[in-house]
Symmetry: C2
């Protein structure tokens, strides 16, 4: 199944609970808006595109549950729901964007039932579009991979971060679909270990060979000639840099040192050419992420910690950016990417 | 106190239990040889020089506990003890070396009490010599650090890996002792987190400011200009490379990219100029180190893992090697180092 979906029979939102992976695979059903909001805020669903789908389905769920008999009353209910959903993760741009998109779509409805139908249709469209974009991006990117390649990746830019298929992992899936044999090296991605927990799990589900390493081993494996290409996702692409999960920049320097191609796979929606590196503030996350893993203590409880969520990789370290509109080698103009 | 020491009143071996750090600081007393052997094999004491001291003190403990009334009987008891101690960690060169050194020293004794005294004296000498070497090395290295420097380090090349003072951390301690203000950035050092668990704890004990980061952040912090120098320890130095904890090579490439000096601090005993990189087999460790941390699951239990204990950093990435005989810039001849 997709990482998140609409169950049309029971009129509920279903999702794979990512907090339980890889120990347990559990599909949870959100029958109420509060269950869905809890799932978003506690990261049972995560990743920008997946959160977009969650936001859209959230409005559909609210519309289904509302007992409003008039259009005005229903719209009011949905406005409250929209604010509630957005508040679960206020900095998640895709979540708010998808909620607003569904709220905008209902303006075309003629009656109460029409509004309900439109919310479901528009939310489904958001999810479907994401899959279509990933598959297009995957097809372009697959051309960059050769049969027999070993590809290193960082964090999780896969199906579980999107609705399905994935960006970096989507490229790998498309190459495998095209009949190429691809081996993956997954960096565990401290401190939250999305690479170790989710990327490995996803690929093992698809029978794509994957080997887990610590982030610090990237130098060693590239020096030993064990890596043919690196592919990562992106959180935000400005004219000068790619923002992605902390650790990406380190891998890019190592790849440059060993002349290993370093690719970024990201949909066009990730590009923000109005911004520059200096205009983006990197989120500092909870120090306890480095002091504990679950119940295990990793460091003195009062140790000073520096825990940036992202880093910035300059364009000169990037061989190409793979999008649904094609492959772009820096330097390039945003107009070319947006077509 | 030292990481390991001889308690002359109770005639026992005392040590800081490193498996409990940083959650708990506990000094354990080994009153029997089996307690000491258990402490060695379960890594309550670890690090090459510290294991040397443990081996020496082990023979002293066996001599104290033996009820043998004749020299022959006592030597036989000690030979059994020597074999038992060496078997706890058969690949630890320093452990066997120290045991043999004490066993050799007893040849000069005239009677049973003399043997007992010699074992204690020689074991103490081994421990003392290690501290003297570290302090000499520290004094040389301290000259490379400037007041106000931020120094990044990896793993634990500190007091807890030695008897006292440390190698990489010894250089930092000596600089602080000389009145310089030094800030440390400690990489957590996956998968066993010696940096996060032990280096941070050691430095906090000494009130030396330390900030913990994930290993993958080294690129980001150096790009941001947050690091003035890198100092690491070494497990083995051949003519072409330095073998050290996995991740060291990655940091060396990042340091080179940002023109940050990259220093290795190691006693002369670490040099093995008969060997080359290709002649050394890198130990592959238990895959479960990447699948679990304590009781917490980090990855699918059946995921394929690559877990080399060490990596090799070529001399071209190293600015200088700091020893008790002075500072050496590659390329250099072993004769110069050995004086």
């Amino acid at each position: 199944m997709r990482s998140i979906d609409w169950n049309d029979e029971s009129k509920t939102v279903i999702m794979i609970d990512q907090t339980l992976l890889p120990g347990e695979y559990k599909v949870i059903e959100c029958k109420t808006l509060s269950t869905l909001c809890e799932a978003i805020s506690s990261l049972r669903v995560r990743g920008a595109p997946a959160l977009g789908a969650a936001g859209g389905f959230g409005i559909a769920l609210a519309a289904t549950l509302s007992s409003a008999a008039s259009m005005d009353a229903l719209v009011k209910d949905l406005e409250v729901a929209a604010a509630t959903i957005k508040a679960t993760r206020p900095t998640a741009v895709n979540l708010a964007w998808a909620v607003d998109r569904v709220m905008h779509a209902i303006q075309d409805a003629y009656n109460v039932d029409g509004i309900r139908d439109v919310t479901i249709e528009e939310a489904m469209r958001i999810a479907d579009e994401d899959v279509i974009i990933n598959k297009k991006l995957g097809e372009y990117g697959a051309k960059l991979l050769d049969d027999g390649d070993t590809v290193m990746t960082h964090c999780n830019a896969g199906k579980m971060a999107c609705v399905d298929w994935g960006t970096a992992l989507g490229v790998i899936r498309s190459a495998v679909l095209a009949g190429k044999e691809i081996n993956v090296i997954a960096c565990e991605t401290r401190p939250l270990n999305q690479g170790g927990r989710i990327t490995t799990w996803e690929l093992m589900q698809d029978n794509i060979p994957v080997k887990l390493i610590t982030d610090s081993m990237s130098g060693h494996v590239m020096r030993k000639g064990m890596v043919d290409k690196v592919i990562v996702g992106a959180d935000r692409i400005t004219e000068d840099v790619v923002f992605n999960k902390i650790g990406t920049y380190t891998h890019s320097v190592i790849a440059k040192e060993h002349e290993v191609p370093f690719y970024v796979a990201a949909p066009v929606s990730t590009f923000d050419f109005d911004g520059w590196e200096e205009s983006v503030k990197i989120e500092l996350r909870d120090p306890d992420e480095l002091r504990f893993f679950g119940k295990e203590q990793l460091a003195p409880i009062d140790v000073d910690v520096y825990n940036p969520a992202f880093d910035a990789t300059p364009m000169e370290n990037i061989s190409a950016i793979i999008t649904e509109n094609g492959i772009f080698e820096p330097p390039f103009l945003l107009d070319e990417v947006k077509m």
